[in-house]
């Protein structure tokens, strides 16, 4: 009997898996809907995403155009959040800055998630020396405090948005690899996995169709919270002058530029920080709610 046909027991297993998965998704969605802070966080995040996408249409001024007459102006009807030292509109720059922060946050988590998944699944599935090797490398990466390692990697790669994504991505790989490895290790012992293996299912398919759906919950939660951490780290790199280079608007770099004007124009340093805090807070609220909805026992 071949596994590929619809009549085989393997196919039944898959269909069952598919059904329970959609049932489960529905339950999760219902639980999430009742979690008000999570809904609030999710809504704020969607708004930020929209603002970033629509930046050219909704921002009142071009983000990089100096207007020396308005330099250091406090918030007013013309410039709702004031103007910076070159007279550029702070609100417009914050809206454009959302593009950078969200991009870095999402893409760096994508990098970490993909590599962490590959490495963690390989280590957990094959075990033995390969497992030892991969996890020792993860231990070594974990031996560095996050921001410091990201800074050191940026020193090698040079400043810029793409390198910031890579640096933050690399730093976060171990978190995902550890979760995946642990789950794969415990799942591997289940009878249905053994049954699928006995039927000759290929390793890739086994991991993709039978193991992965079962470890999605902790991974999604980790990725949501990881995005907020990545946004904070990106802002830190920008603040230290290692992120996106001027004149591109980036929240951390804007804050750093405002440092010198704390006395005359504190709004320059204040508002980008508010933007970062709101974004990270929204992601954290959503992530917390998602964790409770997916599995109240999860502790991440």
């Amino acid at each position: 009997m071949s596994i590929g046909t619809k009549t085989g027991p393997g196919a039944n297993q898959l269909r069952d898996n598919g059904q329970t998965l959609s049932n489960e998704l529905y339950t999760i969605f219902r639980r999430l809907r009742r979690h008000r802070p999570a809904i609030l966080g999710g809504a704020v995040f969607v708004l930020l995403l929209l603002a970033a996408l629509l930046a050219p249409w909704i921002s009142p001024y071009p983000p990089n155009e100096p207007n020396y007459a308005a330099a250091l102006k406090a918030p007013s009807p013309e410039h709702l959040l004031g103007a910076d030292e070159l007279g550029r509109d702070v609100l417009s720059r914050i809206i454009y800055g959302a593009r950078v922060s969200l991009q870095v946050g999402l893409i760096s988590v994508g990098i970490a998630l993909t590599l962490g998944l590959l490495l963690g699944a390989t280590a957990g599935y094959y075990g033995g020396r390969l497992d030892d090797l991969i996890m020792r490398i993860m231990d070594i990466l974990l031996a560095f405090p996050g921001v410091l390692l990201a800074i050191a990697i940026m020193a090698v790669l040079g400043p810029g948005i793409r390198n910031a994504m890579i640096a933050i991505g690399i730093v976060s790989i171990p978190q995902y690899a550890r979760i995946v490895r642990g789950s794969v290790l415990s799942l591997k012992e289940n009878e249905y996995i053994e049954a699928a293996r006995a039927l000759g299912t290929s390793t890739g398919r086994l991991v993709g169709r039978h193991i992965l759906p079962n470890i999605l919950a902790p991974l999604i939660v980790r990725a949501t919270l990881g995005t907020s951490e990545a946004i904070l780290e990106a802002a830190a790199l920008g603040f230290l002058g290692l992120g996106v280079q001027p004149p591109t608007a980036e929240w951390g770099a804007m804050l750093s530029g405002g440092r010198n004007y704390l006395y005359n124009a504190p709004h320059i340093a204040t508002f980008p920080g508010v933007a970062i805090t709101i974004t990270v807070l929204a992601m954290n609220l959503f992530g917390d709610g998602l964790r409770d909805a997916l599995d109240p026992r999860l502790k991440l």
Partner: protein, 333 residues
């Protein structure tokens, strides 16, 4: 227990070796030392001679071997910029970071545990809601922004605290060590101690914020879990005062997982110190590392990153051992 400790300590050796390898490889890929040291206008001959002198003409595995051997002798090399020994620079700067981190961790543990316990005991009260909201804000704020906002409010506007730096430079005091705060306290020089406290207050609060928030959240959930246990009901049933139940029975067990969080916070505090020190011009190892990276001063980058990673790994080891010691349910095999 002793066996467990020894085994865990031995496991550190490969990790630390790996750390040196990462640091070594990272710095191999950074700026060309001959350009940093000799400047743009050096002749090819001068560059060749310098490469030979620095051992850069040897194969890379030999360079790494020599690097590890030098490390074992405590030789961290010399700064490419100032030619000062890196070990000496670190010796001068590190105590400032230690004092800042310690004051922060004391603040974080004290307020974190206090707020967490009160929140748990008075679950769903106004205090609970407000403090958990505050905790959520605490972990969501960028530390350098919080630092700037504290500086703006308390130094620039209100003038209560100095804007930045370590100590009022007009004060004269002959420090024997770099642990200024501790030394002035031990020698009983109160005016110096007061100035030091005023300078450390804002950076320490900024640095402690996110750790305080995390410890408060962890303590709260841990206490909540423990006070639902049977032995707490027993303690109440036998007529113990509520206070005794919380402090004698609940807290002791609830704080075990908190210890781990506190240990892990050391790492984030060291990371945070890099940013806080930059904001407040604190003369510690964090601002040294940032300056070294900006100047492409590789030996100094290597030294600072290596030191921070080593301290981080060691603290984690101590926490793990402490955890096993505190929780008798953990089998150290």
């Amino acid at each position: 227990m002793l066996q467990y400790t020894i085994r865990r300590a031995l496991l550190l050796v490969p990790v630390l070796l790996g750390v040196t390898l990462v640091v070594f490889l990272v710095s191999q890929l950074t700026a060309d030392p001959t350009k940093v040291i000799l400047g743009q206008h050096a002749t090819a001959q001068q560059m060749e001679a310098l490469r030979h002198e620095l051992g850069l003409d040897k194969p890379i595995y030999q360079q790494y071997g020599l690097y590890v051997l030098r490390l074992l002798r405590g030789d961290l090399g010399r700064s490419w910029l100032t030619d000062a020994p890196v070990a000496e620079e670190i010796r001068v700067r590190f105590p400032h970071t230690i004092e800042l981190t310690l004051v922060s961790i004391i603040l974080a543990v004290f307020f974190g545990v206090l707020v967490g316990v009160i929140s748990a005991v008075k679950q769903y009260s106004l205090f609970d809601h407000l403090s958990m909201l505050g905790a959520l804000l605490g972990v969501s704020m960028p530390i350098f922004w919080l630092g700037l906002m504290l500086m703006n409010l308390f130094s620039v506007r209100l003038g209560w605290f100095p804007i930045s730096g370590r100590i009022d430079l007009q004060l004269e005091f002959d420090f024997k060590t770099q642990f200024y705060l501790l030394e002035s306290l031990l020698r009983g020089n109160w005016s110096i101690f007061k100035s030091l406290l005023e300078h450390i207050a804002l950076p320490a609060v900024a640095l402690a914020a996110s750790s305080t928030a995390l410890i408060a959240r962890m303590t709260r959930s841990s206490v909540l879990e423990v006070i639902r246990q049977d032995y707490i009901r027993t303690a109440r049933a036998k007529g113990l005062a509520e206070r005794m139940v919380i402090y004698k029975h609940a807290l002791k067990n609830a704080l075990i997982p908190v210890v781990t969080v506190i240990g892990l916070q050391f790492g984030s505090l060291l990371s945070g110190a890099v940013l806080t020190e930059t904001v407040f011009s604190w003369p510690g190892i964090g601002s040294l590392a940032v300056a070294a990276i900006q100047n492409a001063d590789t030996p100094l980058v290597q030294g600072t990153v290596l030191l921070v990673a080593a301290v981080f790994v060691l603290v984690n080891l101590v926490v793990d051992i402490l955890y096993a010691y505190l929780d008798p349910r953990i089998h150290y095999t």
